[in-house]
């Protein structure tokens, strides 16, 4: 085991391109193509106004992803904390200057581009935590003192996102942080303690929720009580899904989406259109694609030979998983509606670019899976 498996020096661009996980890239292209088809359908059988812009954004995202993939992972590692700081600054900016939409400040407009800093923050948080735990030996991770800084690193953005207010993203961010701790090897009993504490605190937290958040929870519990108000989305989505049946109504024949009963059909509820037109078979196939993506990140994580890369890969994969899970559960009416898009499929520029940036980092991990990192006991 002592022989030097690490490659000492960086290698050339051509070599790097060879090392890119092209199978994974093709998988992403398939997802984007599914999105194109669905957007073509909700556009009323037309590439305008959604599908073509989606394709353009994906092309741009692809270039961004491949460019990031070629950056040496050690460089990215060195910039983990600075990027984290940038994320926090963006969150502070959104609190100060952000666009107010539906009662919450979430968007920041930079050079004509709408940016949702909380999305970017999740990727930066993964990088920062990976960088921290990279230094953690199996023994060292027992120390509560050692766990204190990363805990704060999770709590700070969660608090800022909560203030926007965006409860859903705050919970997802906290969950993502927790999973990073888990993957890093933090002892199981600590999670048990935290989980018990959260269960105890839930009633108090409910008390501090905003009116619209409570209403969402109530609507989720009883969507039928308010069929024209807040329950409208869930109910219409469930009707669209259910009427799709096993085989679906056929491409471009989903009456619910086509007849505009379904709101936000091109963004958060895109899955509904797919599952209405292609039925349970289509819906499960799409879920299968999502599973493949998550599986791909797992393979890349296991093949990586440094802890930083492993943690980054598992973090990015988990982030993608959480997106997919929250979105699907939401449109099926299994959790309260929370404005989360389906990555690579929903119409929306900011989410697409954020996702592609994350996959870029993931591919960089894969390309540089064998590079030598400094020893765990030194800072990166």
């Amino acid at each position: 085991m002592q022989e030097r498996l690490w490659r000492e020096t960086s290698f050339g661009i051509t070599a790097k391109l060879w090392q890119i996980n092209w199978l994974f890239v093709i998988l992403l292209c398939v997802l984007a193509a599914v999105g194109y088809g669905a957007l073509y359908s909700v556009g009323g059988g037309s590439a305008e106004p959604y599908a073509n812009r989606h394709a353009l954004r994906f092309a741009f995202g692809l270039v961004l992803m491949l460019s990031v993939a070629l950056i040496d992972i050690r460089v990215i590692a060195r910039f983990s904390w600075p990027l984290y700081a940038v994320g926090v600054v963006l969150l502070l900016l959104v609190a100060r200057y952000g666009h107010v939409g539906k009662g919450a400040q979430r968007w920041l407009e930079i050079a004509g581009l709408q940016l949702q800093p909380s999305e970017l923050m999740k990727i930066f948080l993964v990088l920062a935590l990976a960088s921290w735990f990279h230094r953690a030996s199996y023994e060292r991770i027992r120390s509560i003192l050692f766990l204190l800084p990363p805990t704060i690193a999770v709590a700070l953005p969660v608090f800022l996102i909560l203030k926007e207010p965006n409860l859903g993203t705050a919970i997802v961010t906290a969950l993502l942080g927790g999973i990073m701790f888990f993957a890093a090897g933090v002892r199981i009993w600590k999670f048990v303690v935290i989980a018990l504490a959260l269960v105890a605190a839930a009633p108090i937290a409910y008390h501090h929720l905003h009116e619209y958040q409570r209403q969402r929870i109530m609507t989720f519990l009883h969507p039928e009580t308010d069929p024209l108000g807040a329950g409208y989305n869930i109910l219409q989505s469930k009707i669209a899904l259910g009427s799709g049946g096993m085989w679906g109504k056929g491409f471009l024949h989903g009456t619910q989406a086509q007849l505009n009963f379904l709101p936000e059909k091109q963004t958060d509820f895109i899955f509904t259109t797919i599952a209405e037109e292609f039925g349970f078979v289509g819906g499960v196939s799409l879920i299968g694609l999502l599973v493949l993506v998550v599986f791909g990140t797992l393979v890349m994580a296991l093949r990586c030979r440094h802890q930083y890369g492993r943690l980054v890969a598992i973090g990015i994969g988990t982030n993608f998983f959480l997106y997919g899970f929250v979105n699907l559960a939401m449109v099926m009416g299994a959790i309260p509606v929370g404005g989360v898009p389906l990555p690579l499929i929903s119409h929306g520029g900011s989410a697409m670019l954020t996702a592609m940036f994350g996959f870029g980092v993931l591919l960089s991990v894969h390309v540089h899976r064998d590079v030598e990192f400094p020893s765990p006991h030194e800072p990166i």
Partner: protein
């Protein structure tokens, strides 16, 4: 390296656990999807069909406003309007193009429609055009296949049978703006109106009602096939006013072309029986939006037809204020009803000389005589003894310079100054100021409604508040009985002394308002004149001698005021009349007040419980 191996194995184990959990989660989602799409599919297929049953909100009818005898003052009138439901058409622009070939749409109308379509959810109908004629409506219906998304609907517009007669009291409605809709989404429905002035504004919430829902069966492109179920909303409340519409009409006619206002109150309970302002305007014009030219005409008119002068016009009260001055001195113990003060025609205060309106003076007078003759010197001296702060406090108890209970949002507070107010503005209060305020001049700013309230309180001895709403949905509101109002804590003798003076003003030889005298089956009225100089001009001209304000240009003439109550023996009705630039209260305002009071006594609205005579009903629709 051994430690690192341990770390790798922990990571591998946990990554696999994590992936397992994630896989299981996706599996659960697939199971949920299976349940939705395969097991429960039939149920949702049915629901998808019933999505063709579209629910539509229906606008509640706006509540009527009626007078105290049930005569409609604001009602709803049927009309036809065209709506656009965006979700039922593939191409809003094409539909509108086709529509404007049948019924021409102006550029700004089209812009408004497109803006509203963007703003609302696509199943909310947007008004394309209101007040369609029968031919237009028929043309649209015949061409319905070319107009997907267009629906012709019967709606209502606000109708004001009395028009200008009650415009200032009732106010008017107008289409809601974006802020209104943000507050109450019901207002996004076509045909909804928001009160913009008067009672329509003050009682908007209760007049508006709540929207109902109608379930409609629509075909695949959304055209309505039939109505399945209707859940009526709550119609707006019917508001019954204290106003006697017939009396109101008589009062308006009596005011004629003057720039004037008159208020008639039930002195015992504060009910406003009539509140007239002239000139007036037609409130129906606001229904569909007022033209620019009309608006300019109204706002440029120096007779201010849009302003409800009865509650928003402020004037110095002049001599009508003298009763309050007297009462403040009586309460302070610095004057008794029998005290006599000598009037030589002027009062010297330091190096200032304050003149009585009668050059030679009135000689020795008691309170009754002073009110009868409206002697200025008597009240200069009375004010000097009482001091401004006592006068101001007493004025407030009589409703002057304070917000009253009246429902109208336009009401102004006016101004009754005191020492603190003057100091707060950076000046000193001088004795000369007090003296001037003793005859109702100076900084005093009072509305005609406040004057009427003052007289009602003098007449009844109760702190009544003027109010307009008598019933809501037929239920009598509190305040309609005299016992609802507390008594003024004033000695009855003092009020009697003041009332006796007001009686003498009208009914005794030598009183200042002989023109106001009536004898209606033995009933007499008591009153008080007031003429308020436009001070600057008055002072300049007085020095030239031979001063006659009637020769001044209109806008420099004094305002003419008269306040009265009747019957003198058992006061029931109180009124105030203000004629802007009417010159002298005794000449311009007193005869109007007399005629109005005669009409009031003839109709006796406070006592009459039965429905109005048919003659009145006919009048109301004239």
């Amino acid at each position: 390296m051994k430690r690192d191996t341990k770390r790798v194995s922990v990571f591998t184990r946990r990554a696999l656990v994590l992936s397992g959990v994630q896989l299981a989660t996706f599996g659960a989602l697939a199971a949920k999807l299976y349940q939705l799409q395969v097991i429960d599919s039939d149920r949702y297929k049915l629901a998808a069909e019933s999505n063709r049953i579209s629910a539509r909100l229906i606008a509640p009818p706006r509540g009527r406003i009626v007078d105290r005898f049930g005569i409609a003052i604001a009602a709803n009138h049927m009309n036809w309007h065209a709506l656009l439901i965006a979700e039922q058409t593939d191409d809003v622009a094409a539909t509108l193009d086709n529509f404007s070939r049948l019924v021409p749409l102006a550029e700004h109308e089209r812009a408004r429609i497109e803006r509203e379509v963007r703003r609302h959810r696509r199943f909310i109908p947007v008004t394309v055009r209101e007040f369609l004629s029968w031919e237009e409506m028929a043309r649209i219906e015949v061409n319905a296949p070319d107009l997907p998304g267009i629906v012709v609907d019967a709606g209502t517009t606000r109708l004001y049978p009395f028009g200008p007669t009650l415009a200032h009291v009732v106010g008017y409605v107008a289409p809601p703006n974006e802020n209104d809709v943000a507050d109450d989404p019901t207002l996004a429905l076509p045909g909804m109106r928001v009160g913009r002035a008067g009672l329509e504004k003050a009682e908007d919430r209760s007049l508006r009602g709540r929207a109902g829902v109608v379930q409609l069966e629509v075909n695949a492109i959304g055209r309505v096939i039939r109505e399945l179920e209707r859940q009526d909303g709550v119609p707006g409340a019917e508001i019954g006013l204290t106003i006697d519409a017939g009396l109101q009409q008589a009062v308006v006619e009596r005011l004629g072309d003057e720039s004037a206002s008159a208020v008639v109150l039930d002195a015992q309970n504060g009910e406003v029986l009539a509140m007239a302002t002239s000139p007036s305007f037609d409130p129906s014009l606001f229904n569909s939006g007022v033209s620019q030219a009309q608006w300019i005409e109204w706002t440029k008119n120096r007779l201010t037809p849009l302003i409800n002068k009865a509650v928003a016009g402020v004037y110095p009260p002049g001599s009508t204020f003298k009763m309050v001055v007297a009462l403040s001195a009586l309460e302070a113990g610095v004057l008794s009803p029998t005290d006599r003060i000598f009037c030589p025609g002027y009062l010297d205060l330091g190096n200032m000389r304050f003149h009585c309106w009668r050059k030679g003076g009135h000689g020795s007078l008691d309170l009754r005589g002073a009110i009868k003759n409206s002697c200025d010197v008597f009240f200069y001296e009375t004010a000097r003894r009482a001091g401004i702060d006592r006068i101001a406090a007493m004025a407030e108890r009589f409703g002057l310079g304070v917000k009253l209970g009246i429902e109208l949002p336009e009401q102004r507070r006016g101004l009754v100054p005191n020492r603190a107010w003057r100091i707060a503005h950076g000046y000193r209060w001088n004795m000369g100021d007090t003296v001037v305020h003793g005859i109702g001049q100076g900084f005093l700013q009072i509305t005609p409604l406040q004057l009427a309230t003052m007289v009602a309180r003098i007449a009844s001895g109760r702190a009544v508040q003027p109010h307009l709403v008598r019933t809501v949905n037929g239920v009598l509101q509190p305040g309609s009985s005299a016992s609802d109002w507390p008594e003024l804590a004033l000695h009855p003798h003092w009020l009697e002394a003041v009332r006796a003076g007001m009686w003498a003003v009208v009914n005794e030889p030598g009183g200042t308002a002989p023109l106001a005298r009536i004898n209606f089956n033995g009933v007499e009225l008591a009153g008080k004149t007031g003429s308020t100089q436009i001070r600057r001009v008055a002072r300049e001209l007085r020095e030239h001698g031979n001063f006659n304000s009637a020769r001044l240009p209109w806008e420099f003439r004094p305002h003419a005021l008269f306040v009265a109550f009747a019957p003198f023996e058992a006061p029931r009705y109180a009124l105030s009349v203000v004629v802007e630039h009417g010159n002298a209260g005794a000449e311009a305002a007193a005869p109007i007040a007399r005629d109005i009071m005669l009409e009031v006594l003839r109709r006796n609205p406070a006592e009459r419980q039965n429905a109005p005579q048919p003659r009145l009903a006919e009048e109301s629709h004239a």
